[in-house]
């Protein structure tokens, strides 16, 4: 069983990244993570952190302009939708796990993910199929 300090050392940076990606605000991310950890600390005897999976690695591919547009679009999404996208595709949680985190049904997770991806899809650089041989 992990100690509080050990947990924070292992997961603090990831929590900050998660909070930042969901909120889009550095100060809010710091504040919220501290607040959440304080809550966890008070109840540490009742918290059993689960082992985490591997980290996400990204391969460069999409152009920087598309990523910039996507980041801007993320900021405009409803918070629930943005949280679903970050948990599902950044934290790599499956639908059931995202649903547990957000206290909603897996179908709600899927519908939010679908809506968010549909919005993003409009930004994906399109291939000019007519130009293909």
């Amino acid at each position: 069983v992990e100690s509080f300090d050990g947990f924070v050392a292992a997961r603090g940076a990831a929590l900050l990244r998660f909070a930042y990606l969901v909120s889009g605000d550095r100060h809010a991310a710091e504040d919220l993570v501290q607040s959440a950890l304080a809550k966890a600390f008070r109840r540490w005897s009742t918290v059993s952190p689960e082992p985490r999976g591997g980290s996400v690695t990204a391969s460069p591919g999409m152009d920087i302009e598309a990523r910039g547009a996507a980041w801007q679009l993320l900021a405009t999404l409803p918070r629930r939708q943005r949280a679903v996208l970050v948990l599902r595709f950044y934290e790599d949680l499956d639908d059931d796990a995202v649903a547990r985190v957000l206290s909603c049904s897996p179908s709600t997770v899927r519908s939010n993910a679908a809506r968010g991806l549909a919005a993003l899809r409009r930004l994906v650089p399109t291939v000019d199929t007519e130009a293909l041989p």
């Binding site: 909070a19 540490w44 993320l74």
Partner: protein, 414 residues
Amino acid sequence: MTEDPAVRLLRETLTAHESEAPEPGNLANAARSRAAAAGRTWWSGVVAAAAVVFVVIGIGAALVRGGNGGVKIGPASPSSVAAVTHSPAVSTPGSAAPQPTVDSTSSPLWVPNRPPPDGWKLVSSLGVELAVPKDWPVVGAIAGCDPLPAAFVERGGGAVAGCGYTEPATFTLVQIERLSTMRVLGSAGAPATGDASAGRAPGPSPSPQPLNRLPASFTERALADGRTEVALSFEDRDAVVLLRGPDKDLLFKVFGTVQLADLDSVGCPAVLAPPPVWDRADRGSVPKVGIGNADRVTVCAYSSGPGEASPRLAASAGLTGSAAVPVLKALDSASAGRNPDADPADCLPSTPELSRLVLLLHHPGGAVDQVQAHHDGCRNRYVADADGQSRVTIPLLQAAYGALGMGFATNVAG
């Protein structure tokens, strides 16, 4: 399989921006300082999750929750609340039911005596009881992504907004909460939109007046979205009833049902009584807790707030028929003895027991057996009655807290 280009774009975008997140610094110490300050982290409530998810929930909840403003409690409207006084010699069925911790030499015992209107139900918390339409959900924590119902009652744990929400102008909220909590959160009387500049009409100046021998105060405000918000605070009880919704007549109908309840309508004392002599961890060799022929269960959930001498009733429910079965079945299935203590390396010896369940098992002949369930903390977890002791189990906690619409926190296994 080729990855969806939109998913790929999303992953790359998020990864490209992750480096902009703040550095961790000494997060652990910062968190400890906040915990010691007993600020909003204490009050924001806990929807139990024994995992890293617990932490993430806290973050997600805070991220998506709207902001709140302040509150001012004004002159009382004594006619809007009724309560009756009884002598402390409350007649409670059976011999082992807990009695309220009321000083009979100085305090009257308040017991609600008015039934709910037809089609309504009673809801109790923190020594206050009120009635709402039967179809209104009663929850201990706001936690969900699904659309808000038209109305709900929140009591027993404070709000954790799992996905966040903005209250629509059609939404009705009834909330029973510690007054001190509301002040810490700054949420009593706050604009429903979370916008402090939402432009509500100015409220009356604070001037608490006696209400049925208790100091209580009342405010009514018009919210910017057209709804009305009314609040009734009981300073002596550290309790507040807050209502806001579009139908002012309905709000005042609910408001008119508010009663004080040192012992509520299902038989739960507002303050947890001192433990019976048999309620101790080291019982030696005793049988498991028996349910006999019990066919009804009263569930009383208690929580402790900062500075409170005794745990206070967070939520209660009277379970009959099939609703009582899961609790009785879980209780009957538990093994004798107490739960093993958690690893001392992860116990915080200074952490007090913050929540407790008391179950009243009602038998057809009228007898009532009291059961104490200690599930909080990392040691001394057990279920006990006058004759026996059993382990606390997750199915029992799920059944009991589920009936209350509350989350719970525990690290007992199985």
